[in-house]
Amino acid sequence: MKAIVALIPILPFVGFLVTLLVGRRMKHQAHLIPTALVTGSAALAVAAFVWVHEHEGELFHYEPLAWITAGGPSSLWPGVESVALKVSWGFQVDSLTGIMLLVVGLIGMLVHYYSIGYMSDDPGYYRFFAYLNLFMFAMFILILADNYLLMFLGWEGVGLCSFLLISFWFRRKSASQAGKKAFLVNRVGDFGFTLGMFLIFVTTGTLQFTGVFEAAEAGDIGAQTLTWVCLLLFVGAVGKSAQFPLHVWLPDAMEGPTPVSALIHAATMVNAGVYMVARSYPLFIQSEWAMVVVMVIGTFTAVYAAFIALTQTDIKRVIAYSTVSSLGFMFMALGAGAWVAAVFYLFVHGFFKGLLFLCSGSVIHAMSGEQDLRKMGGLRRKLPLTFWTMLIGALAVVGVIPFAGFWAKDEILAGAYSYSLTVWVVGIITAFLTSIYMFRLMFLAFWGESRADEHVRAHIHESGWVITIPLVLLAVPAALLGLLAGLPPEAGWIHGFLEPVFFEIEHHEFHWVGAGGLLMLVSVAVVLAGIGVAYRMYVRDVEEPKRLAHRLPIVYRASLNKLYMDEIYEVVPIRATVSFARWLWMFVDVKLIDGAVNGVAALWAWAGVRLRPLQTGRVQDYALDVLLGLLVLLVIFAWVWVV
């Protein structure tokens, strides 16, 4: 098992190095090594999952290498009783890790295969696979880590890869700017994460999960400190998982190739925030305030993103906002205490959101790069496979029984209901909006007459098998996973599986007849109503959206312009920072520092000019200087001698 766990991240790292070195020469074969290695990792991940499944409740721990050993009493600061910092490359596998391993490994592998076809005529082919492998490495490190610092290493690593892959087509200005935006916004979150880590270390003296959680349960951490720790860690999650107000990078991240969007911004990286909060469960349950904050932000983000998704015209952006909304849902669940539900949703979400992105990639590929929904239509007949798989994905997202999304989402809603009625109402509204915008997308793209340009229309064709097979492979779990893992509700396989991780959870008894069943009925009804609304607006009466937009112009424009979030950011922090940076440049750097450096040089030049007349070319003058020097020496010696 040790070898299995250690190899999981090592294989893709090797793939990254090798592909960087020899990839360019391999040209169109460059995918062979990285894909093979990732397949290996995925297989090992499944093996690890099986192991966890067999060893119920056990925590696998493996610490092969020490990383940082610093501190301890030091002769440099004798008065300070410094604390030793010991961090090691340690791995930890439990049920939660097992689930994450499945998601990351399988979806990562499928995306690699998908990319073979999707990126086939891209000049940076080998670079793409190298970065993908690097990402897999970082993501595995993140989920396998047994301490906060190593997790942070993976955290930063996936952030880096996100940047590299978003701005993959770096010659396009919008792409490189989107990459920068993602990285910078993430950084804000990382700052919170770092502060949280500092606080943890200062109060508990360790960064290892087991150590920290023990300290927390023993009550060693003060209540206020604990809340701060949770909040700071959560800031990191807000950045990484694109929650309000640090969500602005995710829609722009769609500048990256679609496989990137599928892998990183749907199935894996953005889940890191949820994973981190879930992992820090022993910390969060002790702090009511932190849970409230998590829940509020999650809930708000969910409905906020759904609202914006209603009017977006880029197919990928709709799905991006859907991801933000789904993540909000997960945080809402976490905050409301429905931990298992949140992880369950994470589990299935990876599959169906990844599926949706990959399908959209297939659509874009077929449309010769067109991403605007207004220019699509009627693809149902021309792209049957893509259509059916995407339909499954859409049904999963909105949560139609018996697809995967339904069971997970419903459990979240149930948890919300038992927490607070208001939250449940917001959740229901979000579900309603979700089905509207999702099926708006479906209807606009696949129904009706094609609104594409002439030459685009001629080229529309179903994608090759390298693309479509992953779609089918993903559609299966999107359809069935909910049934397999979550049935019966509250007592399904996943609940038992995750129990060792989320101990002390209240278990609600689920009754088909009674509150539980009623809630289920309501959510199904709401979802179907949403589909119906979308149908009416985009199939039956195509002019209806425009009329609605006219009647509610403010609402429409608010949604279309993402509630002006980017503009707010521009005005408030960005301008001030940029002007400050400019001032620092023009004044401090140019005038002060350059001035000082150039000044020194100028000083010497000036001195040289002034001293030049000493060189008269006449020996007698030089001899005079010698005599002068002699005199000075004599005086000095005499002085020393006398004194």
Partner: protein, 171 residues
């Protein structure tokens, strides 16, 4: 050769005055020839000084070399070069004043150093070895510098000849 403390103050003062006045004559004369003649007399005085110090060999050498040879060379040089006329300013460099000041200061410094702490050592005059002893030392202990000096003199001769040749036109 008289053993024992035989410092003749009177002789010394006469000698000192002679040498210093002639040196001043060298340095301050307007006419080069006057400087040269002053120099000859100065060397004579220095030879006398060596004699007073019982270094007879040196005194003879001084007369032979300095008075007999170097002075001649200098006078020849004066004859071969120009004569400058003019006021006092013409004969001194622009830094002459500074040089005078510095020289005075240096002299003062050395004198003060010598006089204030004195020179530790015997005031009794010891013997300067005579010719025989000096020759023995010269050819045994210092034979190497002796040989080297002859080489130096050879080099100087050759150099002087080469430098004074008429430069022929190279075609």
């Amino acid at each position: 050769m008289m053993p024992g403390g035989d410092f003749h103050p009177v002789l010394f003062v006469i000698l000192a005055a002679w040498v210093l006045v002639c040196a001043l004559g060298v340095v301050l004369s307007k006419k080069v020839m006057y400087s040269a003649v002053s120099m000859v007399f100065c060397f004579l005085g220095v030879a006398f000084a060596y004699a007073l110090l019982h270094a007879e060999l040196l005194a003879i050498m001084q007369l032979l070399v300095y008075v007999g040879a170097i002075s001649i060379v200098v006078i020849f040089a004066i004859m071969l070069t120009e004569v400058v006329e003019g006021g006092y300013r013409q004969f001194f460099t622009r830094t002459a004043l500074a040089a005078a000041a510095l020289a005075l200061l240096t002299a003062g410094a050395i004198v003060v150093a010598v006089v204030s702490d004195g020179v530790a050592g015997a005031t009794e005059k010891t013997l300067n070895p005579g010719l025989q002893e000096l020759s023995e030392i010269l050819f045994s202990r210092y034979v190497l510098p002796f040989e080297v000096i002859s080489l130096v003199l050879l080099a100087a001769m050759v150099g002087a000849i080469v430098l004074s040749r008429k430069q022929e036109e190279r075609r």
